[in-house]
């Protein structure tokens, strides 16, 4: 039985940076350590950079900077006996990402001659588990996602489940100095330890939800600076660790909207955060107190699954266009070029996309500006070719590029070449194209295995 939290208790959480590897000023971090934190926690991942990273097992963060951030955090944690918790290791949290991050930690331990107890928590789910769940109707798509099929399961390179607080609590209860977890519900990384000590689940998770982005929720916001949270029995307080930043009611409330569908109801593993009665109060010039967040547990435990699959291979070519006649007829010309390439039989199992910057390269079909109102005096065209092998993508890109370069469009007066290439070679191999194949809820809570290791010496 955990003791009741009284108004005299406080649990201090230091969040060094928005994403492990984004960096943070050492002065801010030291100020955080001076506040005697009970926990140093960091989120290391995101689905924002797209499906490639989960699918390929590569990280979107830089190895040198991940090592730099971890070295500072782990050494400070050991010196001050504060646990260091890392969620969604390597950017996407699948096994290759976890191994990548573990290898970095092992290097730090060897180089700095330190030794500590570490928990590693993989989040990969076997295809068999997902298939069984699918067959027993325990899987449903999130909004905008297609129903899951056996084929999609087979085609996915790695499938991860987003873990909640439970495995973190198990690891921390065993006295680990460092916890390195696969795909995690970001707030759980921050909330697990205080919740295990009896702090309110809703407040702990809500504080985690804000701290996982560190100083992004302060003003001026930054993804590369530290923030501090003080959890109390009936509230939590957010403080900046850099004198040039402030947490204001406005910045904190605005952050609550960020990347969410509905800021009042935030679903996660085991239940939902309900912010309907939540209040934000400015208590000093630079700190904000939050009250009233509730946690509504769900009846059936669900877990979010993520997976990515290869849909082809990509080659691209980048070129500029300055001819006003060509610019005025660009849509027709590109359509005719596509047709010409198709007629030569080079497009089977392949796709061409033209990204026309200066026209609708950013918004594509969502661009509301009618073509006749386009005023650009020059355009950039990115030819994107996707094939079912890299070789086919290369061929498709090359043929499309050469066809466009010398295409004799109507009324042409510039007959030497239609494109300005900034580079030789003009074509770039981009490798595998991934897409998110799984983004579903599974109504079975998997057992996340907590592996305890001794690192160093």
């Amino acid at each position: 039985m955990t003791p009741e939290i009284t108004k005299y208790d406080e649990f201090v959480v230091l969040s060094p940076t928005a994403i492990l590897g984004y960096g943070f000023p050492i002065e801010s971090f030291k100020r955080g350590i001076d506040e005697k934190p009970n926990l140093i926690a960091v989120d290391a991942g995101s689905t924002d950079p797209g499906p490639y990273y989960l699918g390929s097992g590569h990280s979107f963060t830089d190895r040198e900077f991940v090592k730099r951030d971890l070295r500072i955090m782990i050494n400070a944690g050991l010196e001050n006996s504060v646990p260091v918790v890392i969620g969604t290791a390597g950017g996407s949290g699948s096994l290759p990402h976890l191994k990548w991050c573990e290898e970095i930690i092992n290097e730090i331990a060897a180089e700095d001659e330190i030794s500590f107890k570490m928990a590693v928590i993989p989040s990969d789910i076997s295809k068999e588990t997902v298939s069984t769940a699918l067959k027993s109707n325990k899987i449903r798509p999130l909004k905008g996602v297609k129903e899951l099929t056996q084929d999609l399961i087979e085609q996915s390179t790695g499938i991860v489940a987003q873990m909640g607080m439970k495995p973190f609590i198990e690891a921390l209860n065993q006295g680990c100095d460092v916890v390195l977890a696969g795909r995690s519900y970001d707030p759980a990384v921050f909330a697990a330890l205080p919740v295990s000590k009896g702090y309110d689940v809703g407040l702990s998770l809500h504080m985690g939800k804000i701290l996982e982005c560190a100083a992004i929720a302060s003003t001026p916001g930054s993804g590369a600076d530290c923030a501090l949270g003080r959890l109390r029995n009936d509230s939590f307080i957010l403080e900046p660790l850099n004198p040039s930043r402030k947490f204001t009611c406005e910045s904190t409330a605005a952050h609550t909207l960020y990347e969410k569908t509905d800021p009042y109801h935030l679903p996660g593993p085991g239940g939902e955060l309900d912010l309907t009665d939540c209040s934000f109060t400015q208590i000093t010039e630079n700190s904000v107190m939050v009250k009233g967040t509730k946690f509504i547990p769900e009846k059936t435990n669900t877990v979010k699954l993520e997976g990515a699959r290869v849909v082809g291979y990509r080659s691209i070519s980048i070129a500029g266009i300055r001819d006003p006649l060509m610019i005025s007829a660009i849509d027709t010309i590109l359509e005719e070029v596509k047709q010409a390439v198709e007629n030569m039989g080079k497009i089977d199992n392949g796709d061409i996309y033209f990204h026309v910057y200066g026209k609708n390269g950013v918004m594509g079909p969502l661009e509301p500006l009618p073509p006749e109102e386009m005023r650009s005096h020059e355009l950039a065209v990115v030819i994107e070719a996707i094939g079912d092998t890299q070789k086919k993508a290369d061929t498709l890109c090359s043929v499309t590029r050469s066809t466009l370069l010398h295409f004799g469009y109507e009324n042409r007066i510039s007959t030497a070449g239609n494109l300005a290439f900034p580079f030789s070679p003009s074509d770039i191999r981009m490798g595998e194209v991934y897409e998110f194949s799984i983004y579903h809820l599974m109504e079975i809570e998997p057992e996340f295995q907590v592996i305890i290791k001794t690192v160093g010496k």
Partner: protein, 107 residues
Amino acid sequence: MQMNITETARVIRSKNAGPFELTLDIIFKSEYWYKYFKNNNIINTKVISSLYGVNESDILGIIWFEPANAVKATMVRRISSGAAGETDIYGAQQHAPLLGITFDYSE
């Protein structure tokens, strides 16, 4: 008096809400403008669907969030983030059509 939304909003932005949804945020300069927009129903499903040329059924919701003096509209992404044909992986540059919202202001 004809006014543009940029005169009343401090933040206008777009971003993925997960890889399958795009969410638009408008944070007003003051509670006054928040209430004015809310009470006059200036931001609604119809307005967003016509600005972006998407079906009303693809708009998942318009949510007014008083603590931030903000309104948010979320829609299903045309394709999931990073799938073939993508133009904006993070969805961070899809807000521009909102900047053209004008309204007839009367106190």
